[in-house]
Amino acid sequence: MHELSLAESMIEQLAEALKSESSPVTRIEKIDLEIGSMSGVEKDAFEFVFPFAAEGTVAEGAQLTFREVELQVKCMDCGSVTSPEYPFVSCVSCGSSKTDILQGKDFKILQMEVS
């Protein structure tokens, strides 16, 4: 359950980002996140632990939205960009195992809505 650590880390980062805001922020209303299928983060677990991490912070009560990003690889042999069925990383077009992951590994904070 590293999602709790991630939620705490996220809130710390958001609070840090708010320090540079010119007008005061009393609360974070919404946090938009991007979650890759290979990020190792369980969306449900993150949603479950977030309220515990957010309690008593500026993010308490914030709504979370998730943009789910599927795995996408570029083949080093045939050049195709395909989306293998997670968790496999081989090229869907030619079957080559020499691929670079283009997306699907990240867990990112896109933006937050504050008031």
Partner: protein, 387 residues
């Protein structure tokens, strides 16, 4: 002026500035007004009004490049006032107003238009978050301030992007585009630089509990004593049993008890580095908390991430826990001496690893019998010497 809904006369000027396109409001009641432009709110909302309550929807041009303001206000007879300004960073303006008659009613309306911008994200509102309006005097507001960093949110093929004057903001959006793990990653980078500056290679050993990490390390430290100076940071939720087992083999050993945490993070490593890495250390083993999931997400500043899986765990474990086995450049298959007793095929373990990490180096080892230890030690020697 709109006969049905009471749109203000001033609208005509605003409408004449509109780009082409349609704008219709699908209200639950008929009041039939249209204006000649399009805009889209990626939401619909409904409100319930009391007799005589006034709902005003005003869309103002802020006068700033590319920014306009849309304000919805709702005034109840009781003196309640609802206001819902929101801004879209594109350059058009319009206003319309409509008055409700004596009859109590509710209506939902949806704005649609076709001039090419989308709002993909739900809007949050101060209030109940559901975008309902009732005569309870609440105010909710939302704003979109584009700084160009969130292209996935709004697509505006027309007009420039701008920011609202602060007095028109009620809530605002701050774009971040950072990894949730950014602070851990920054600390891991510091660790990596600290180690590199001292010529130390760090390896992060990750496996499930009971795969044989500690025993392999005991045998490794014994084999390397006097050849490569090693240090060990070992993480467990409780006890210093592992540290005790590895002491007295020529390496400094530090135990991190993570208590409730299921993984080590870069901050914990940073706190102990100076203590464990003394002069002459070339190889730092970080034995992570036994767990195939969580430790995989945290960069500690290591040079190599090494996954271990024992032959007793099941051939498909690498496919079941792909984040770890994909992220590890090396997978060590441990306890190979048990294979004949367990009816397992080590070849299937390898296939499974290569499905999620085709380029993985796979080392088979039995720390108990010593089979494969030479391969493991050779590998360690190579990463330390850089050969």
């Amino acid at each position: 002026m709109c006969e049905d809904c009471g749109c203000m006369e001033g609208n005509e000027k605003a409408f004449s500035e509109m780009a082409n396109g349609d704008h219709s409001h699908e209200h639950g009641h008929e009041h039939g007004h249209e204006h000649g432009h399009g805009h889209s709110h990626g939401h619909s909302h409904s409100h319930t009004s009391t007799p005589g309550e006034i709902h005003i929807h005003i869309h103002l041009d802020s006068g700033m490049a590319g920014a306009s303001v849309h304000v919805h206000t709702h005034d109840g007879l009781s003196g309640s006032h609802h206001e819902q300004p929101h801004a879209h960073p594109h350059g058009h303006a319009h206003s319309h107003e409509h008055f409700h008659g004596e009859e109590a009613h509710s209506h939902g309306h949806v704005h649609t238009h076709d001039h090419g911008h989308n709002h993909d994200f739900a809007h949050a509102h101060v209030g109940d978050g559901q975008h309902h309006h009732s005569a309870d005097g609440h105010i909710h507001a939302h704003a979109h301030l584009s700084d160009g960093a969130h292209d996935h949110v709004h697509v505006h093929p027309h007009g420039d992007e701008g920011e609202l004057p602060s007095e028109q903001r009620r809530s605002r959006t701050i774009a971040l585009e950072t990894s949730v793990l950014a602070s851990n990653d920054a600390k891991a980078k510091q660790n990596r630089e600290w180690l590199k500056a001292r010529g130390v290679v760090a390896v992060n050993l990750i496996s499930s509990p009971g795969s044989g990490k500690t025993y392999l390390l005991e045998k490794t430290l014994e084999a390397l004593e006097g050849k490569i100076k090693c240090a060990v940071i070992t993480g467990d939720m409780q006890t210093d049993n592992d540290a005790r087992r590895m002491m007295g083999k020529g390496a400094r050993v530090v135990q991190i008890e993570t208590r409730s945490a299921c993984h080590l993070d870069a901050m914990q490593i940073a706190e102990r580095l100076a203590e464990v890495v003394d002069a002459g250390v070339k190889l730092l083993f970080i034995e992570n908390v036994g767990n195939l999931v969580c430790p995989a997400a945290f960069d500690l500043g290591e040079q190599e991430k090494i996954a271990l899986v024992s032959v007793a765990e099941g051939e498909d474990k690498p496919v079941k826990y792909p984040v770890l086995f994909h992220g590890a450049g090396v997978t060590v298959i441990t306890k190979t001496d048990l294979a004949p007793h367990l009816d397992v095929d080590i070849g299937k373990y390898k296939e499974s690893v290569r499905k999620v990490q085709p380029g993985a180096r796979i080392i088979e080892v039995s720390a108990k019998t010593g089979a494969g230890m030479a391969d493991w030690l050779n590998y360690l020697h190579r990463i330390v010497t850089g050969l």
